[in-house]
Each structure stands twice: as C-alpha cells, then as structure tokens.
Amino acid sequence: MAATTESEIVQGIGSDYEIKYGFHVDEDYFFKSGRGLSHDLVDAISSHKGEPDWMRRFRHRSLDYFVARPLPEWGGNVAEIDFENIFYYIRPTENQATSWEDLPPDIKDTWDKLGIPEAEKNYLAGVGAQYESEVVYHKLQEELENQGVIFLDMDSALRDHEDVVKQYFGTIIPQNDNKFAALNSAVWSGGSFIYVPPGVKVELPLQAYFRINAENMGQFERTLIIVDEDAYVHYVEGCTAPIYTSDSLHSAVVEIIVKPRGRCRYTTIQNWSNNVYNLVTKRAVAYEDATMEWVDGNLGSKLTMKYPAIWLMGDRAHGEVLSIAFAGKGQHQDAGGKCVHVAPNTTSVITSKSISKNGGRAGYRGLLEVAKGAHGAKSKVVCDALILDEDSRSDTYPYIRIDENDVDIGHEATVSKIGEEQLFYLMSRGISETEASAMIVSGFVEPITKELPLEYAVEMNRLIQLQMEGSVG
C-alpha cells in the first residue's frame, strides 16, 4: 500500500514554490563574470579552471559554431532570449567542499532548505551540489570509491582523469550538434562525471542538484556517464531557481555510454522557476544487451525544449523514455524522447504524459527511427495528454522513420480532459475539488511515478499538488 503513504504525504503539504524554492540569498562570490558572451569570456573561463589547451580550443571552436548557427524556429519561442544580458560564469566559492559545514552559511542554508544533506544521509550513495557555475559540494560513499566507482564534478574529472574525459567528451553529442549544445560546449562548467567499472552495481542513487541563485544566470553544466559492462547506476538530478522578473538560461549537455549488458537509469525532476529557459541536449548510446532508461519529469521553467535520446547500437539493446510534462500559466513544455534503432532485435518504449492548465502549453515531440539492417526491432510509443481547462493547449509531434521491413512498431496517442463525472465521483466521497483534480492528475502520471524511488515519487506528487493549487507562477 505504498501509494497510500504517498497520497498522505502529498496531502499533508501546503507550501508553495515561493517559500520552498523561490527564495534567493545575497551574492558574495569568489568570481563573477560580466554579462554577455565573447571569446574573451571563453578564455577567462578556461584560464580560471586551468584547463588543458585542447579543451580551450574546443571551447573557442564551439563558440564559433554557436554564433554561426541560427536559432531554431520550431519548438518554443527562443527569439526573446537576450544572450547579452546573461552572466555566463559565476564561481561562488574558491574551493569545493566535502562537508556541508565548510560551505558559506548562505549557501549551506540554501541546501538545507532544499533538503539535500538530509536526503544524502537517508537514501543516496553520493551527491554533487552545483551552485551557479560550480559544484560547491561533492561526495561519494567510500565503499563505492573502493570499488572503483568515479563520481566527480566534470571539472575535477578533467583534471584527474583527463585521458578518459578526452576519449568520450563530445563524442555522443558533437559540439556542433545544435545551437544550444554548441553554447554549452563553449561555456560549460560543472556537471557530473560518472564511471562505473565492469560488474559494479551502484544500488542507491547518485544525485546531482543544480541551483541557480543569481538573476540572469546562465547555467551550463556538462555531464558524462560511462557504465561499463554488466554495471548499473541510477543517477538523479533535481533543479530549482529563485523567482525573478527577468530571464535566466539553463542549457546542459548530457552524454551517456552504456556498455554491453550494462544498465543506466537517469531520472530528472526539473522544477526551475518560471523565468528560466531550459534548453537541454541529452543523448545515450546503448551497446549489446544494454539498457538505457530516461525518466524525465518537467514541471518548472518558462520554456523547456528537451528530448532525451537513446541510440541502440548493439544487438538486443533496450531503451526506455518515460516523460512527464506539466505546463501551467506562462509555461511551455516541449518535451519528448528519441529512440534510434541501429542494431538488430533492439527494443524501445517511449511513454509520455503531458498535462496543461491555466493557459499552459505542454506537448510531446519525439522521434522513432529504425535504420536499415535493424531487423527484428520492436518499439512502442504511447503519448497521453490531459488538458485541464479551455485555455490550455497540448501538441503531439510523433516523427517516425522506418528503413527496415522486419519491425514491430506501435504508436498510440490520447488526449483527454478531466471529466466532470470523475470529479463528481471523487467529490461525492468528501474530497475537495482541488484535491480531486490533483488525484486525477497524479493517477494520470502514476505509470511513470511508480517507476521512481519512493522519495522522488513523493516529491513528484507533491510538485503536482503544488501546480494544481495554482501557487506556482
């Protein structure tokens, strides 16, 4: 009866974004760049980090690609982003801490309010906490370190494991993949590096939390995960930001390699404030008999454009994308997933649930591709939309390209509204209209939340409850 517990906890909470996440603290930073983007800035970031020359050149080339590429004209409206008004690099502290106590009081308070140290104690194997541009706290359980697991922030990984980073960095998502991947490649800072050695199963999740504090901040973390043969890891990321009247930008790049028989699950609970543009590129490759799973919850932000992708490169590799998008007032969630079947007998499932209310716009945009030779490929795409009122909108863009005959492909899409009869039924049992709506929405996304560890399922349900109360944005 786990669901009962969740529902109880969900009901017991009546806080809102403003108090819980929307606060900011004073800036007392070690280094803050000026606004705007230039080769000088790129140079400054690279020098600040003491990077090898190949990375400095990679950054400069990426900036050229960014400038040369036009803004995408599909998806959401990115034309209003003022790239010259963004702060691209802020280093809050001189050194990374391995104890929460060593952080400046304001920053430590922020993490305490977000509940990260508490979560670390209770159910995580390791935590990285990024504040503005840098990971200010990082820790991995010693036992895992002894087994050869590497969990570091990306900058430290580049210093300590340059050869591995150089081998994989930018190979899954090339620096010129798209305009925002190019931007990230030019100014990236922070993010996670994970290596799980053959046969090692990391039982508890590793978590990274990304916090923006400054106004007009640009956060560009870079994550690279390598799961070796027969290994397993579950990586979870969360993110929030203060509420400001002007825009911030978050543009991450996440590259994942899952080697034969390995399994990686990557869970995101995205809860940016409604002034953050969230334009993220995520892509994984899965080799023979490997499994890659993206669990992608998008609740916050002004505009999110994100389509976690899986390239099924080895025989019988399996990919799964579970996507939830919730758009309230002033929000546009253009979410989805991509599965590309390259090898024979590969399988994939994309499940998308989108909810829109109060004039919000949520949609599914996805690609299913089967390359010639990927015979025996099986895939199923299910996208369901729930529209809560007349002012809201749902879009579905399911792109399918099949170049092989021997395949088994299924696609289902539904659009529904919260039924008056369902509401009446719940209310006739004494449940208020708000709570009844929240129950219907929680039930709608249950096929995905049930895949989450309990703590995150509770968090997800709680966030949905907040959205339903209309207190966000």
Binding site: M1, T4, S7, Q422, M427, R429, E433, M439, F444
Partner: protein
C-alpha cells in the same frame, strides 16, 4: 425533524427540462426507504440531485440534512455532512488505487468533522477497518491495490461502492440501482452488506426498478416514483404488489391526472 428532509424538490437539466417535479420525503436513521419506478421516471436524477451533481439544477425546493439546507453545497460538503451515494455507474480513476482513494476519502471526511483540522486516520486502524469491511463484503484482498473501478466487473464495482459506504459511515446512504447488473449471489452479498449498516447511525434510500433487492433489504417505506413525482406510498407490501402487477397501474393514473 427527520435527518434527511426533501421538500418540494424540483430538478431540471441544463437545457431547462424538468425531470423531478415536486418531491417530498423524510428519511431517518434506522429506516430503509425504497424508491421504485419504471425506467426514465427520474429516479437517478433524484439521486444525483441529492448528492449535488453540477449538471442537475435544483429549481425549487429544499434538501435538509440534519436541519441544514444543502442545496447550495458541493458534493464534497454534502458527503462531509454524512450523505453518501452508491453510484449506478461508478467512475474509473486510472492510477488511483482503491486503498489510496479510500484513505483520501476517509481523511477528507475526518478533516471536515474535526472542523477543518487534519486528523488523518492511523494506518493500523485504517487497515483493520478495511480488512473487516472487505471480508464481510467478500471483496478479495488484492482489490486494494487495483485502480478504482478500472477494469472492474459490474459486481466488483457495486461491492466496492458498498465497501466505500462501510468505510465512510454516512448517516444517509442513497443507493442508485445498486442491484442492476448483479447476479443473485453478488446481489445477496451487497444487499446484506447494506442491511448490516442500516441502524441507529444510518438510514438508506434504495432506488430500484425491481423488487428483488428488497428480498434482502426490507424497506420500511415504499415510494412509487413515476414521471418525476411520488404517486403512491406504502409499506413493504407495496413492493410485492408492484412486482406482481408492474407499474402500468400507476402510469395511466398519472397521465389521466395531468390531462
């Protein structure tokens, strides 16, 4: 004054069509009232209007619960004051388990009764009550983790309606065609479940087309409902008369009265 007092109740659809055309009725705890009538007589509309369905407008009259007029209240507030409706067609809520739904409902009603303060039922107590109620209604244990009414058979739905009734402990239960779609064994279990709950704390209003459920729930009063009105009232013998003679005897009388 009776616990539930219906006074000169008129109910119309959104397009203005009047379906219930002046009903008076009093129901007390410990009493079973049967409302019997042919299809299309407006019985289900009466049930929905009592519970506060937004598509049915009360154009005239009052519904008093414990002396308080509930006509302007939403279904949630009526339920919190002790009214319950067992649906003819219970709604499926995908993703919401029976257990979770019942806990939410029990806690919502407890909260209202505690004056708006959270007063959640303790889990062991809730489980104990639920297990006992499920056993007496022969609801299989694994039902609690299924999504409410999703993929349920007709019999399962009705049993779970009565299970909800047992858990929420209403003062007045309205049962809308609870006997429809049940085989004889399921009917007996469900009806005995209801009969077991009627007593000093609960009265029931049983809406039905057929007499057969009344073999298991003995009504104290029978109201014959035709064309939106009560046309005849009596004791349990009236139900048997209807069973033997049908509703024809009442229909022409009404038509005659109107012309």
């Amino acid at each position: 004054m009776a616990l539930l007092e219906i006074r000169n109740l008129h109910v119309a659809l959104e397009d203005g069509t009047e379906i219930v055309r002046g009903v008076d009725m009093s129901v007390n705890t410990g009493e079973v009232h049967a409302v019997m009538g042919p299809n299309g007589s407006g019985k289900s509309t009466l049930a929905y209007a009592l519970m506060g369905h937004p598509s049915y407008e009360i154009t005239e009259g009052e519904i008093l619960l414990d002396g308080e007029n509930v006509v302007e209240m939403g279904a949630d507030e009526r339920a919190q004051r002790g009214l319950f409706l067992a649906f003819q067609y219970p709604q499926a809520i995908p993703g919401v388990t029976v257990a979770s739904f019942l806990r939410s409902a029990v806690n919502a009603i407890r909260k209202a009764r505690a004056g708006g303060e959270d007063d959640p039922v303790k889990i062991p107590e809730f489980r104990k009550q639920l297990t006992a109620a499920m056993e007496s209604l022969k609801v299989p244990k694994e039902m609690t983790s299924r999504y409410i009414n999703e993929g349920f058979s007709g019999g399962e739905k009705k049993r779970v309606e009565i299970l909800q009734m047992a858990m929420l402990q209403p003062k007045i239960a309205v049962l809308d065609e609870t006997d429809s779609g049940l085989d004889i064994d399921a009917l007996r279990i469900v009806a005995e479940g209801v009969q077991g709950l009627v007593g000093p704390d609960m009265g029931a209003l049983v809406i039905t087309h057929y007499q057969r459920i009344l073999n298991y729930i003995t009504p104290d009063f029978v109201h014959v409902f035709v064309d939106g009105r009560i046309v005849e009232e009596g004791g349990p013998e009236l139900a048997h008369k209807l069973e033997a003679e049908g509703y024809e005897a009442f229909v022409p009388q009404l038509v005659g009265g109107e012309s």
